[in-house]
Symmetry: C3
Subunit: 331 residues, 3 copies
């Protein structure tokens, strides 16, 4: 990183977030929540938040834009292949485009399928960069949102039992595991396909949590988690073994039989009070029959996400650095 870039200007990985950073974000989010999305920042701050999303996004892109606007700032969409010259035959290179946007704006939110690209952007840009999802690596603000939901819906994380059901490559889940070391839950249960292999970095994060006293375990059926306080669920790719057990059944019972699908019937059968979170969009893992249950908190999660993104922007636009340490690249 060039010497004129202060260490900690960017939020690229959950590893950038120290315990005191995390407490600061949670505190700010909570204050903003109490004000129902109002912020105390001056109306004429007029900072420019640029979004550059090479992958589709609804909640992250519009959520950051909404957060910036509610803070009194402004936004520009700096990725538009039909209108900008980047990517056109006689247009800017990727590097020149980033350098240009970094001159026009005060902060960049960036998403790309290539895990390394956000690190390159952070090196090119003198202004702070937020990783809004880099391939299957990380999504640190989603992890902050999930943690804030646990806190504000259910109190201290340390006294909660958390079940996570998702693909082992889910970027939000890895970022969440990294954050949980600052607030280790009482119990953490991963609900995964039995043939699934954790990546070394995920296994390391789980081992760290174990070392901090969290009871970590694996299950292979969502119904084995319904006694937990919180379920954080996303779709997962099924292996041939699981698929074969679902074959031959009629479609109507598919959701009931699929061990990684949550339905109202399963919740009611277990008489469960579990809080259901989901980063959305859902693919089928979260049956619409759940939507009317008090367990369903995933749209409330969208509302809280704006407060967390406001807190993150408020910090970073004020020049407050992340003190968790720098990660210059994925590998």
């Amino acid at each position: 990183m060039p010497p004129n870039h202060p260490v900690g200007k960017d939020l690229l990985s959950a590893a950038n977030i120290s315990l005191s950073d995390l407490n600061d974000v949670m505190r700010r989010s909570s204050i903003i929540k109490d004000l129902d999305g109002e912020s105390s920042s001056p109306a004429n701050a007029r900072k420019i938040v640029a979004s550059i999303f090479y992958q589709r996004s609804t909640r992250t892109k519009l959520g950051f834009e909404t957060a910036a606007l509610r803070l009194g700032h402004r936004t520009i969409d700096a990725y538009d292949p039909d209108r900008n010259r980047v990517g056109s035959a006689n247009g800017d290179s990727f590097q020149d485009h980033i350098r240009t946007i970094a001159q026009l704006s005060d902060l960049i939110v960036f998403r790309h399928s290539d895990e390394e690209k956000c690190y390159e952007v952070a090196r090119l840009s003198p202004v702070p960069v937020i990783n809004g999802g880099n391939g299957s690596d990380e999504h640190p603000t989603q992890a902050l949102i999930d943690l804030f939901c646990m806190l504000s819906m259910n109190g201290p994380v340390e006294s909660q039992s958390l079940a996570i059901s998702c693909d082992s490559r889910a970027r939000y889940a890895y970022s969440l595991l990294l954050l949980l070391k600052h607030m280790p839950p009482k119990r953490l249960t991963f609900c995964v396909d039995p043939e699934m292999q954790f990546s070394p970095k995920t296994q390391l994060a789980l081992d760290t949590l174990s070392g901090l006293g969290t009871h970590v375990s694996l299950v292979h059926d969502i119904e084995a988690c319904l006694d937990h306080d919180v379920l954080n669920i996303q779709t997962q790719d099924l292996t041939s073994k699981v698929k074969s057990t679902l074959d031959g059944g009629d479609l109507a019972s598919y959701e009931e039989k699929n061990p990684f699908v949550i339905t109202a019937e399963k919740i009611q059968r277990a008489n469960s009070n579990i809080i259901i979170l989901n980063p959305l969009p859902r693919q089928g893992e979260l049956d619409p029959s759940c939507d009317d249950l008090p367990n369903a908190r995933y749209f409330e999660q969208v509302k809280l996400s704006v407060y967390v993104r406001m807190a993150v922007l408020e910090r970073m636009l004020a020049g407050i650095l992340w003190t968790g340490g720098n990660s210059q690249s994925v590998t």
Copy 2:
């Protein structure tokens, strides 16, 4: 509608607008007009107005965005099939997308070719919804704009004679007929193709106006309306009968011979002072030769439309409900 949604939060039909609501909108529009588009709302209100337009729009979409921005609020474009995940293979369902946007924003402006969709959006969304055009059903804010133009250009509607020339399925015209019951004009003349059939609901609205004392009549040639105070014109589909009378003529005289086209020559021949309004875009019913006449008020109408949309947003973002009664669906 779910019990937690207050009755009257949405503007889906002109039927939602009571006389006192209408008077309030006209009064607010007039104040804003006198201030030349300035508004007295505090600069740091920072509400988020989301637009979701499944059909193309220039005036309604940019007009609402402009109105929100002039009020000191912010806008997000929440329909972008190339950038959002809604509609993509692994994206949100329509319902989840609406639920998400309703968590991010404070008000939704919605347009769809399906007449029922705006009612579904209103049921899904805890925040107010404005129908910006639903198929061939209604366009209530266009009707408010037309009424405000009549009022501010020509005084009380009750003393005016109004000619409407448009397709019988024109959504703005039906919404306007519904509003006119609160301010019945002296005279209402429909200029239509002789083979055209009114829908039962349009016929009912015309009968209502008759019952209120408006002299309602039909004509089949625009030149028969030129003694009126106001002409509200849009294109209409011609039946075979009318088309055949235009056949064989040369193209140059087509506009002059077409009984549903207004031209400068027709206006000047009649020595008419009629005020011409048009919701735009025009298709050929409004000859550009009219543009330089003092009768042409359709671009001034665009300017006034911003004031009316500001008035509507001001009301709804302040939580003021529509008291005209609820219409839960088209059918």
Copy 3:
């Protein structure tokens, strides 16, 4: 121009800019630069700046949007062929679209490949219009930016030697020549392909500068300019003669041998302190090896461009007219 449009409302050509206008823009830009992009305009001014770009743009479009937002104003993108009705089968004509946007907004920034279109827009629009590039004719705000860079990086223009290396049809260069008559540099060297012909209007502008005391000369190799204070470089189309001298060489030495490409090696060999400006995007004329040299000022130029665009918008939205004289069309 219709009589109700004040003379001087638009910035279409550098010829519209008088010496006192130019001094005013430079003064305002300088004040804004000293405030690091803050502006003293009231936060609730809430003017609407519409951008209508028929050609792709990164810096001009996002730069004007950023400038408007930093001034506390708002922006709408009024050219979106996928969403607006202009250009659709039953949509607005170009003329009606401009008339509509001119009712919704307070200022229009316009780019089109057709050189005459911005003049048509200015005639149709009661609100001020800025030419953001019209074909190969002009780009007046880019010229203002280049001049502000020379002033703020290197002091009075009159004491500087300026080299320009670009295609003879470069629109920014012609606009810059027009402005330089107000601040004639000590020396102006054009680095061009020897077969290149200047257009009569460019030749006239050069003759004007000669008459004002500038030493004007032509060279055919960038290395002949490296003793100048400032190099303003853009790509140029090579004629067959130049191309043939480059043929047969290996690709690696192409940049070194091409006489219109600037490289770090050429600069270091000449031990040159020349300031390098480039309107961007670059095509190959500006080798990335230059980026780390102190000579490279083209990304700083992007930052300064926002201040100049803020100054231009501040003036025009306050109703201050251009007094350099009117140019109603290109021809």
